[in-house]
Every structure is written in C-alpha cells, then in structure tokens.
Amino acid sequence: MGNSAGKETRSESPLYESPPVVGAASSSRRPRARSSGGERHSSLAATRSAVRHALNMEETVDGGYLVPQGVYSGPQDFKARVVRQLMVSRCRRTSRASSVLLAALSIDRRLAPFFKGLEDYEPSWSEAELVAAVRGQAPNTAAASSSEPTVAITPEIESTRARSESNATTASNASSSSHASRARSNTVSSVGSVSEKKTALYTALYRNAVECPICFLYYPPFLNSTRCCDQPICSECFVQIKRADPHVPEHEQPSADSSTVPSPARVSSPFGMIELISECACCPYCTEPDFGVTYSPPPFRSGIGSSQSAGSVLRATLSRHASATASTVSIGSASSSSLQATATGSRPRRPTLPSTAAEVVTTDRIRPDWQLKLANANAHAARRAAAATALHSAAFLLDGGGGSATDSGAGSAGGSNGSAGGRRHRHHRVPRPSGLELLISGMHNHHSNHNNNNSNSNITSGGSSNDGASSNSSSSTNLSMMSPTLGGGSPTRRGSLLSARSTSQRSRRMVDLEEMMVMEAIRISLLEDEERREHERDQVERGAAEQMRRRQSATSTMSGGSAVASSPALAAPQEEETETEEGDKQAEATTKRTTTVSAA
C-alpha cells in the first residue's frame, strides 16, 4: 500500500511551515504502512484485481475516498480514472516508485473526494458524538461496497487513517480549538493513537458539515461548488449528472433562457436525416448549461498548520470560501493561476466562472466519451436509415424492373412489392425537371458499374438473393445520398398519378412523373447491363440463360401484373418494356418525356 502511503506523504509535502510534526509523523509511519501492505500481500495472496479494488476502496484524500460510497446504487458510467485523477493528482502512477518523488510532485485537487455522507448532523454535537456519527457509518458502507477486501485491509486502513490524521491534527489544532482539543491533539500527534487521530480528522472535517441539497447527506464543508451559482454539491451526486442520452431534437430546449443555451452538440450525418443531439447537463440549481464545479480543498492539507497562519485556518473552517483563499495563498504552487482566480473572486461570493475555466470540472470532463457516444448513436441511426432505404429501393428496383429482375431478387422483394411501392416515395424525392436528366445519366452509369459485378450470377443461376440485394442496396444508398442535394419535393402518395391527372394537383403529378422516370431510367440501365452481359457469354451458356430468362420474365411479368393493382401508372410502361427490352430506345423515350414534362 505504498499507494496510500504515498498520497499521505505527498499531501504533507506542502506543509512547509510545520516540518517537525509532519516529518516525524510521516517518517515514523511510512515503514509501518509498507510492512502491513506486504503482510497483506503475502498472507492473502490476493489477486491483482482484488488488490487494486481494495486500494481504490480505501484510498483517501482529504479524509474522503476515491470511489463512490454507495449513495447511488445504479451503474456508474463516469470515467473513474478521470475522476480519481481530478481528486488526487497526477502522481498516482508513480506513487509506488518513491515517496520522495511523490512529495516533490504537486497536487491538483480539482474535485472533492467522495466523503462519507452523514445521515444526520447537529451543530451542537460534541466531538464524541460527531466522531461516532462518522464512524457509525463507516463500517456499513464499506461492507456494503466490498466485503472481503475491506476486511483484509482493515489494519492497513488504520495505519492509513492514522497518517492522514497526523497531518490533519495540525489543522485541527486550530480548527477545533473551541473544543479545547488543542492540547490533546498535540499529544495525539506525538503519541499516534489511531483512534485519537481519527477523532481529530473527523472533527476537523465534519465540523460545520453541510447538507448536499441533492442526496440530503451531510458532508464536510469542503464540498464542490457549482461554477455558476456557487452552491454545494457532493461528488457522489456530481458524478451522476450527465448529458442527456442522444435523442432526436425536440421542440423544447432544456431551459427557459434559450439564448444562453449553447447549440446542442450536433454531428452532421449523411442521408440528410435528422441528427441526434445530446444536450449538455445543466446546473441542477440554476439550470445554467454546461454544468461544472470547483473544489476548494480543506486548508489543513495545504500546509496552514503553523502557528503564524493558525488564525487564518480558524477563519477558513468557518467559511468555505475564505478557506479557498487561504489555502491558495499558502499553496501558491500547483495550478496557481487558476486557483488565484478562485481566490480573488471568493471574498463576498465567487462570481460565475466560465465552463472553460481551468479550475472548473465539467460533467463532460468526467465523461469524455460523450462525443463518441453521440457519434455512434448517429452512425447507428444512419446505418439503420440506410438499410431501410436500401430495402425500399431494392424492392422498388425489382418491382420496377420486373421483366429483367432476377428470380431471387424478385423473390426477396416480391413479398413487399405493395408495401415497398407505398414507402419508396419517401426516399426518392425527385428533383426539378432540370436536374432530372443529369440524375438519369448519373444513375445510368452508376448502375452499369454495379451490375457488372452482380447481374451475371443473378441471371444465370438465379443465385443467392444476397447478391442481388447487396448490389441494389449499395446503389440505393447512393440514390439516397443524392436525394438531399437534389432538394426533393414533398413526399407524394403512391398511386396518385391517375387521380392526380384528373385533379388539379399538377405539382404532385409532376413529382410522380419524375419519380417514374427515374425508376425507368434505372430499370433501363439494368436491362442494358443485362444484355451486354449476355452477349459476352459463351454461346452454350447463353442458350441456357436465354431459356431461363424467358421463364423469369414470364414470372416477373406476372408479378408485375400483380403490381398493376397497386401501381397502375407504373405497370403500363413496365410491361411494355419487358416485351421489347429495347433499353436504349426506352431511354430516349424517357428523356423525351422529361423534356415534355419540363416544358409543361
């Protein structure tokens, strides 16, 4: 347990003004801690993970722990390592190396440790009562969170606590002087009785305890305070507050002052679909967005134990913010610039700090993966949208190109002919006539390329339906990517073509017409490819393929016929095409029609 030993030692390092006490305490205790740690290792032969767990359970900073103490039973999804680092310092990795090095390293305590919360607290409590309250809970929570490692380490805890108290005593000298404990704690530090030292630490910490307004437990007054409204919040609650899960944007914004709400993080997504957002966490007290907290460590760890600054310590324990000032002044080391900002503003009441301020720990900071999560959620949604689009357009391609489509493809899509016909319009928004020709030619090329790969197997063997589907889906993906740039019109209803003619809904009819033309263009390109392929085949196979295809076209004409019911407008050209199979001419016809449409 050089770890905890290191921490304690480190924390003592800034105690420049009181070297004798601290030096004595740390030097005398350190070997003991080492030996007890060694004992534990050898005697229990605990697994590495168990040891680590135990370490985490029992490590303390400023008298608080580095893992949550079980106020919230749900899953903890914050980055424990980040939190830990914010609570302790950067020297954790090297803590086993050498305590001298540790002592030299600076501390940056940016987040309050997980103090043990007291269920009750009365300002009138005597020291004994206070300690009893703190102790009364300690075994419960420890046992609840981890049973055996805790038991295993018990002696270690004692020594750890003892050490931490030994330097806390210097502070409690001052802070608890009203309880006439100055003399006693002096003896404590020299005698080193574990329980007495604990008493001193607990007294120093929990005197003037404050209630966390969220979990309703009492904590030492050295709690985090919100950057915006300077309200207390314990770390246990703080780590629970997080961004909203990725979701589709709703009309309401999280807070009334929508002007100050930063635009929720957006990740641009392809396919023109609605992007998911993840709104930043807001302050639970004042709903200021970008929730963040600051932490003012207790003064006694910062080295204000000496007689000359005792007065300031006393003051510090009375006022949390004053303590921030005092400790900052005396530390004057680590993140001095940032701390000074806190200190200077903390006289009457600290002003609101920006979320970007160096000393502010935001909820995003302890969940650095939120952007990744959001991006993942968006990608997932995009994939699903693309898959749906692909499915629809596959059905539409096969539906539209009934004559030429493969057996397998028709089989996979055939069942959904009707429904696909109904839905596809959402995904194929057709451009203004001017852009149509461009689109057609684009589609044309595109499909030629694709079918080079796949149509062969489809035609001849009626092969795996996957092949057909994949080619279609990839092409349709392109389709859907195109559609936003083409600025599609409003979605139109299926089968409205005929009725639209009779009604005056010209624009809708136009869109329908355009849509049909695009379909035809795609179908034509498929046909062309197919034909080319067939010519390239050797004669023997070709004959077989020919036969097969005839059979196919017969069946798919039938399926096309069934589609007539749902889409009469589409069925007419389609049948015509299956008969002729003159792709080029059809293409010409289409473009002609396009021009007439655009003229209209």
Binding site: S73, F216, E252
Partner: protein, 155 residues
C-alpha cells in the same frame, strides 16, 4: 434494495413540514409509491376540488423525475384523460435539486395556470382557446362532479 436516504428524509420532511394544500403519503409496502392529494388552487376553476394523484419515485430518482399522474378526472388542457401531465419539470427540465414537494407545488401551479398553447389534451386545449369561458365552466363542473372532497368523489 434499501431506500436511499434522500427518499426517507423527503418523506419525513413532508410529514414534519407539510405543504398547505398538498398531502403525500407513501404506501407501506412500497415507500417509493405515494398517494397524493392536491387542493385546487383558489381563483382557479379547480378551486374547492381535492385531486388525487399517484406519484412514483423511479430507481434513478433523484436523477430522473418522479412519475406523477392524476387519478381524479380533470378538465385541463395539459392533463389528458389518462391523467398524464404535460409539465416541463416532470420531463426535460427536471433537476435533481427539485423534490417531491416542489414538483407537487408545480403541479398545483399548473392547475392555476393552464397553458393551452402546449397542450396534452388537444380537444380541451382547442376549446380553451376558442371559448375560454365555456372551457372554464366545464372545468368547474368537472371539479364539482369528480373532485369533491369526499373520498367517494374520486373516479
């Protein structure tokens, strides 16, 4: 599963320091489930009515909002016929610093200030906008019919 201290304390404080016009009592078998009554605010169509609600504290409470629902039938643009309530602090604007007490006060305030522009019961909101007087009359009528202080007045 033990009950979080916060819930215990909130319950205690609801008893020791009750809010006038609001009463919340936990079920004995499930301390997360509360029977609630809210008096209709004065100067509102719901004045004189005593509305029964149910309130449930989910597992994640206080990190998520309590679930609150009207049991008494009520004619209100932001409360639908299933008793569900359209109230921002019950949804996106929930904050863990809010409590059972404050949320019930918000519900009571909603009775005093219907917001037909953000409706949950569309028909009621429509009527509220078109003919507020008639809508208020209906609300009063429903209050008299369903929200009488007698226990059997509940639906």
């Amino acid at each position: 599963m033990s009950l979080p201290k916060r819930i215990i304390k909130e319950t205690e404080r609801l008893v020791s320091d009750p809010v006038p016009g609001i009463n919340a009592v936990p079920h004995e078998e499930n301390l997360r489930y509360f029977d609630v009554t809210v008096d209709g605010p004065s100067q509102s169509p719901y004045e004189g009515g005593v509305f029964k609600l149910e309130l449930f504290l989910p597992e994640e409470y206080p990190m998520v909002a309590p679930k609150v629902r009207f049991l008494t039938k009520i004619y209100h643009p932001n409360i639908d016929k299933l008793g569900r309530i359209c109230l921002d602090v019950l949804k996106t604007n929930w904050s863990p610093a809010l409590q059972i007490r404050t949320i019930l006060l918000s519900v009571q305030a909603l009775l005093g200030a219907p917001n037909p522009d953000d409706p949950l019961a569309n028909d009621v909101a429509q009527r509220w906008k078109e003919d507020e007087r008639a809508a208020i009359a209906t609300a009063k009528e429903w209050t008299q019919t369903y929200a009488k202080p007698e226990p059997e007045a509940e639906t």
